[in-house]
Each structure stands twice: as structure tokens, then as C-alpha cells.
């Protein structure tokens, strides 16, 4: 990441921004993203493309948050769709049944989900690897069934927790904060989805949706925010494109997951970036 940022900053394009070489590319990326988002509505020729673009953005919100947990903190969650679902149902119920203004409902629901994530975060994040996968999966399924039945952030964390603790990082506390933050992103995106589409089904909280979200993050590239956005875009558009051949949707999705992880375990964006960087050097 860092070497890439530096090589890009010191590249031949001669950056006009006088800022420090570490910050400039990041700000430039943000500016490009803002520009794309601002101009996109003019480029989208019909309502369907507009709808897909909004879906991409909503998924990107979840993926950017989930990427903090998977990519930077090195922890997996197979239950984030549960937080997404809780955010969606919470926002929708507060607005529809209690007359809370939509924006306040969104904030309240996100805050409540963050609190839940904070409470369960510490015991859950004591677990590692397969056990963490099982615990988050179980939590997600419990949330999904309940919904169905009731109509710090430092890159050092991923490398080695021991090393991070030796240099004075409270890895347990940091992990919980990242977990809470990623749950809040998911809940907020869930709330936005509920308001945008006007309805919500328990399938949005399902295990399969959790898996889709994790796939978006790892496909784009772990520990790469841009990668998370690309992953969300590709894997949101792909099923839409495949509706023409609906029967092959699962086969293609499963194959994409396996092939990406076997041949590009770092994800599409970091792999391509590394290849591109090498060629230009």
C-alpha cells in the first residue's frame, strides 16, 4: 500500500499539490471519487442504471466498513448482514410506526446497532479464525431468524497482533472499536436501503447476504478501501448482468470466489495495482 502510494506520488505525472507525498494521492483519490459520484447521474441514461448505481453505493458503504475489520484488523465476520438487517428494520420501524423523522431514525438505529456490536464485540473477538467465523455466523443467523419471525483502525493489526501489542497497541480494544465501526457502517447502509427501496425483507439479514458482503471485500482486495468499492461495484453489477442467464448466477458467483482466492488471494485491485506498478517502473 505504502510503497504504492509513494511510487505514485513520486511518479512522472509531477503532482501539482504541494502537500506531503503520503497524503496527496489519498486526497486525489477522494477528489476523483467525488467527481465521479457528482457526474454519474448525468451519464446514467435510464432509471434502471440509476437504480443499480445506487445499489452499488449502498453495498460500497458496507464493504468499506467490513474492509476495516477484514483487511486492516484481520478478523472475519460472517454475520454482517445481520447488522445490515437490524439497521434496515430499526430505521424502517422507527420511521413508520413511531413517526420518527427518517434521518433521526437512521441515526438512532445505527447507534443502537453499534451498541449491540460493542456489547457482543469483546467476547466474540476473543475468538480467532474458524471459531470467530462460527460465532459471527451464529450471531448473524440468530438476528436473521429473529427478524424473520417478528414480521482505531491501524494497519499494524493485521500483520501480527503480538507485534502490535508489543509496540503498545491495545489490540483487543482496537478490534472491538473496528468491529463496532464496521457494524455501524452496515446498519447505516441497511437503513438507507430501507428508505430507498421502501421495503425490506429478512433475506437482507441472511447468511447468504453476509457471504456476498465478505466476497465483495475480498474480491476487491483486503486492506484496500478503493478495492472494497470496486468489489462492491463488480459483484453488484455482475448478478444484474446475469439475470439474462439467471440459472448460471450461482455457478458464476461461486467460481469467481474460488478463482479470486486461489489465484489472487490479495484481491483484484491490489494484484492489478502491483502488476501495473511493476510495469511502469
Amino acid at each position: 500500500m505504502e510503497s504504492l502510494a509513494q511510487s505514485r506520488a513520486s511518479g512522472s505525472e509531477a503532482p501539482t499539490l504541494p502537500a506531503s507525498p503520503r497524503v496527496a494521492p489519498r486526497l486525489r483519490g477522494l477528489a476523483v471519487l467525488a467527481l465521479v459520484l457528482a457526474l454519474l447521474p448525468f451519464a446514467l441514461v435510464n432509471a434502471y442504471f440509476y437504480d443499480v448505481a445506487i445499489l452499488v453505493c449502498l453495498n460500497a458503504i458496507v464493504c468499506v466498513g467490513l474492509n476495516l475489520l477484514i483487511g486492516y484488523a484481520g478478523q472475519i465476520s460472517l454475520g454482517h448482514a445481520g447488522f445490515f438487517g437490524l439497521g434496515a428494520y430499526g430505521s424502517a420501524l422507527l420511521a413508520a410506526n413511531w413517526g420518527v423523522p427518517p434521518f433521526a431514525a437512521l441515526l438512532l438505529a445505527t447507534a443502537a446497532v453499534s451498541l449491540l456490536a460493542f456489547v457482543v464485540g469483546r467476547p466474540i473477538l476473543r475468538l480467532k479464525g474458524n471459531y470467530l467465523a462460527m460465532a459471527t455466523l451464529g450471531l448473524g443467523i440468530i438476528i436473521a431468524i429473529v427478524l424473520a419471525n417478528e414480521d482505531g483502525v491501524t494497519g499494524a493489526l493485521h500483520g501480527s497482533e503480538v507485534a502490535a501489542e508489543v509496540v503498545g497497541v491495545d489490540s483487543a480494544g482496537q478490534k472491538v472499536m473496528v468491529f463496532v465501526l464496521s457494524a455501524a457502517f452496515a446498519a447505516a447502509a441497511g437503513g438507507l436501503t430501507a428508505f430507498y427501496s421502501g421495503f425490506i425483507t429478512p433475506s437482507k439479514a441472511s447468511f447468504m447476504h453476509s457471504v456476498e458482503l465478505v466476497t465483495m471485500v475480498v474480491f476487491g482486495g483486503m486492506a484496500s478501501t478503493f478495492g472494497a468499492v470496486v468489489g462492491a461495484a463488480v459483484l453488484t453489477v455482475l448478478p444484474q448482468a446475469l439475470t439474462v442467464v439467471k440459472e448460471y448466477e450461482m455457478v458464476v458467483l461461486g467460481a469467481v470466489m474460488m478463482v479470486t482466492m486461489i489465484f489472487f488471494p490479495r484481491g483484484a485491485v491490489p494484484t492489478l495495482a502491483a502488476r501495473f506498478g511493476r510495469r511502469s517502473r
Binding site: M134, M250, M257, M258, I262
Partner: protein
């Protein structure tokens, strides 16, 4: 004990036996490679659906059962050769995604090869219920229990008396030492996928006459099997059996006395409690803390 309680125990033991067979598959693959095979549930699906198809072509039931187990075993071996075995030094998150991808892929293929409908398989010895202590038990339940006992006996013979079984056991204790004494751990991993897939398929064939089968049955059965394996202690064979039976009984009693809608919630709440307080499972096998 009332007839109702016997009824719940019988259905709990039946479901629990199936979970135990799936959990054994999880533990066999975990022992050989430290991989959690999220596609384990799909072997159950492939077993049930293959048997249904084979019977429909007029093949006698015993041949259909063996054929279904064989088809699943081939798929399991292919999964190891083409996917899991190729990602040798990958971290746990990567391996989890690969096997989840495989499960979605296999489900997609099943939907193409077969269809999206629910299928029934004929029971092995009719469907006249047997009255027992005030409860009525379908004969297929007895087949499930009997076959599970037979599998446990056969597996313990396999692991104690055969060269391949001993090699698999040795690899699970210490892969490096196993390699030093000349065990081909690649072969062990390959065989583990075949064995686990075969066990999953047997579970799928046995349960299909009771709960029916479709391209989607693997999802929940796989998750329950994983839960049972964790409950008993990941990597422990006795643990997988105890975990499966405990999970089956708890679900059945919970569904009967508490709420059938929340039957699956009970199972996963139990898992979370066990993970928080006894992360090595109720029988305790492999340490969960890894640095």
C-alpha cells in the same frame, strides 16, 4: 416418561445422528488440513439428490445409495484437487472464502443438473410407523440410528487398523512428524476429502426420506454440522458424535417445549455460549488460541 417426551427424544436422536455424520466430515478435513470445509453441507445435498435421480432411472436402492456416495466422494476429491489443495499456504480467511465459494458453485451446478424442486426418496423399509412407549417412530429413523452406529464402528476400525487410517490420525496430531516418518500428507488430505464427502452423502441419503431433499438442503445441514463439530471440539471424532447428538436433542426438545419457530436460534445461542465459555468444545480437543 410420557409418549410426547419419547417422541421428542426419538426425533432429536435422528436429527442428531445426521448432524454427527456431517460433523465427522468437518473434523476429518480439519484434522488433515486445518481447513473448515464450508462445502460439507453440499455433499449431503449431492448424496440425497443423486440417490433420488438414480432411483428414478430404475436402479435398485442399495446400488443407488452406493452410487450416490461414490458421486459425492468424486466431487469431494475434485474439490481438493482443483481448489483447496491449490491454495496451500493461504490464511484461514482465504480458505473459508474458497470453500464457501465451492458450496455456492456446487449448489448452482445442482440447480442446473437437477432442478429447484423438492424431492422425496422412498424409505428403506416402508413408512408404517412403529408404536414405541407411547410414541410413533418411522422405520427410517431406526435406519438412521443403525447406520450411524455402523459408521462409528467402521471408522474406529479404519483409524486403528488400516495404514491409511493411522496415517490420517498421525497427520492430525503432528503433520511435520508424520511427514518425517514418511507419511504423504498430500495423499492424506486427498483421502480426507473423499471420506468426508462420502459420510456427508450417506447422511443425505438417510435423511432424504424423512425431511425430503432439494438443491438447498446443504446450507442448514452444513451449518448445523459445523456447529456440532465446534460444540464437541473441532477435530475430535467422539466430540463430533456427542456434539451432533446434543445439538439434535436440544433442538428437538426446544422445538417441542419452547418454540418451533426458534428451534434454530436455540442451536446457535448454545454455540455462542459454548464458544464464550468453553471455546475448545464440551469434550475439548484443539486449542482455539493461535498466535
Amino acid at each position: 416418561m410420557g409418549g410426547q417426551a419419547v417422541q421428542f427424544l426419538a426425533s432429536g436422536l435422528t436429527a442428531g445422528s445426521i448432524y454427527a455424520l456431517v460433523a465427522l466430515g468437518f473434523s476429518i478435513i480439519f484434522n488433515a488440513s486445518r481447513v473448515i470445509n464450508f462445502a460439507q453441507g453440499e455433499f449431503v445435498m449431492i448424496g440425497g439428490m443423486s440417490a433420488v435421480s438414480l432411483v428414478a432411472t430404475g436402479v435398485p436402492m442399495p446400488v443407488a445409495i452406493l452410487g450416490a456416495i461414490g458421486i459425492a466422494a468424486i466431487v469431494g476429491l475434485a474439490l481438493e484437487r482443483l481448489a483447496v489443495g491449490r491454495a496451500k499456504n493461504a490464511d484461514i480467511v482465504t480458505l473459508i472464502i474458497i470453500t464457501i465459494g465451492a458450496s455456492i458453485f456446487l449448489r448452482g451446478v445442482a440447480q442446473l443438473v437437477w432442478d429447484k424442486n423438492i424431492h422425496a426418496l422412498a424409505p428403506l423399509s416402508g413408512d408404517t410407523p412403529i408404536a414405541f412407549l407411547g410414541a410413533t417412530i418411522v422405520p427410517q429413523s431406526l435406519w438412521v440410528l443403525g447406520a450411524t452406529v455402523a459408521v462409528v464402528i467402521a471408522l474406529s476400525w479404519f483409524f486403528r487398523r488400516t495404514v491409511l487410517g493411522k496415517a490420517m490420525l498421525a497427520t492430525s496430531y503432528n503433520p511435520l512428524a508424520a511427514q518425517l516418518v514418511g507419511i504423504d500428507i498430500k495423499k492424506v488430505l486427498f483421502a480426507s476429502f473423499g471420506l468426508a464427502a462420502g459420510l456427508g452423502a450417506l447422511a443425505g441419503v438417510l435423511i432424504a426420506p424423512i425431511t425430503f431433499t432439494s438443491h438447498e438442503v446443504g446450507i442448514m445441514l452444513g451449518l448445523k454440522g459445523f456447529a456440532a463439530a465446534i460444540l464437541g471440539g473441532l477435530g475430535s471424532f467422539p466430540g463430533a458424535i456427542v456434539g451432533g447428538l446434543v445439538l439434535g436433542l436440544l433442538e428437538s426438545l426446544g422445538a417441542g417445549y419452547v418454540s418451533s419457530a426458534y428451534k434454530d436460534v436455540l442451536a446457535f445461542v448454545l454455540i455462542l455460549v459454548v464458544l464464550f465459555f468453553r471455546p475448545d468444545g464440551i469434550l475439548g480437543a484443539v486449542k482455539s488460541e493461535r498466535v
